[in-house]
Subunit: 218 residues, 2 copies
């Protein structure tokens, strides 16, 4: 299985691709700029002392990836999908990691999308034959990006296709100390996105940076 | 501090009052029926082999309680508050534990309250001088009700009055292996209620009964 990262040069994409690469899984970091993609891949390989990462422009990354992580900021996610729509090949699984949160005057603001989750809003732009899965929403990017941090938490994976969800979970199980949990249909992303916002609020309240969740009793 | 339970003879009220009573804190189980209140208190005392619990009609319970847990089913919570409105004395802290979830045709349905949490909807009916706090939403009632179960989890406490929140947390800290976390203003109950619904969904998916959450990294 090939893992790609759409807009993978940001903090979220870097952290996520690093965790997979550290687990020995080949990753393709995509960007609109080949130069930035190559630099991010180089950085990933240096940090993992390996060569699991390659950089490509988004279009080429999409051509050779089965599981594509959408790792652009939440308010650019839908546009990013529209931009590459024609290059999303049938059977691709698109994993949306976005959290619709803005910081305004030092306060966290949850951006409700007319009653639906950001993942559901993005799903409207995904062509037929491409399945969307929501994952990694409650994992802080900079914890992912720091390999010295043990994750020791669960991730809540949502999607309407059980097969797509299971494929995503299979890949996720390669990351040590992370347990993917099937959190139900894509609609459940409404809960998971709010949980992610709550984690950010807890970080602020307790002056921490890595709040994330573990489901006890499961 | 006196702890009261409004409509405390249901599964939620019984579980919650049991945990406090087991920690040696006096609890007053309120009900519209003195008989049912007394029976629930007797059961609580038998299970804890103590005499921390008393039963009273709701009105009397309110007269002698500082911290009142609203433990009626979510769809009756607002009505229950309206019914006892005139008996809620100034300075009372009302702790809402409701989760707006319905079971329809075997499926869990989250009941969105026009964009606000159930706690916020209830707050509209609370008289001036009474503070509302949201807590215990993500704790399964039957886990609370089974003293052989170690909680080993966090609770996410929301409220607009820091003083009221802190008073509630102080009481909660008496319950072993439960850590109350300040989850922000009452508005944060929107996240916590959805988390509670997610826990129920996880229980169904994994054939468990006690899903609850721990915030890692805090």
């Amino acid at each position: 299985m090939n893992l790609g990262f759409l807009g993978g040069t940001g903090i979220e994409g870097k952290g996520l691709s690093l965790r997979f690469a550290a687990a020995g899984i080949p990753v393709v970091i995509g960007s609109r700029s080949l130069e930035r993609a190559a630099a991010a891949a180089e950085q990933c390989n240096a940090l993992t002392r390996g060569n699991a990462a390659r950089g490509m422009v988004n279009r080429e990354m999409l051509a050779c990836s089965d599981l594509v992580f959408l790792t652009v900021p939440f308010d650019r996610a839908a546009t990013a999908v529209i931009e590459v729509r024609e290059h999303l090949k049938r059977g691709t699984i698109l994993v949306d990691v976005s959290v619709p949160v803005m910081f305004r005057q030092g306060r966290i603001e949850f951006v409700a999308q007319e009653g639906v989750s950001n993942s559901e809003a993005i799903a409207r732009h995904v062509p037929e034959g491409v399945e969307i899965v929501a994952a990694f929403k409650t994992l802080p990017a900079h914890i992912l990006a720091d390999l010295s941090e043990t994750l020791h938490c669960d991730d809540f994976v949502c999607g309407d296709s059980n097969a797509a969800k299971e494929t995503a979970c299979e890949a996720m199980r390669m990351i040590p100390s992370l347990r993917p949990l099937d959190a139900g249909p894509l609609e459940s992303a409404r809960a998971v996105e709010r949980m992610a916002a709550l984690a950010i609020a807890l970080n602020r309240r307790y002056k921490k940076k890595g709040a994330r969740f573990l489901a006890v009793g499961i």
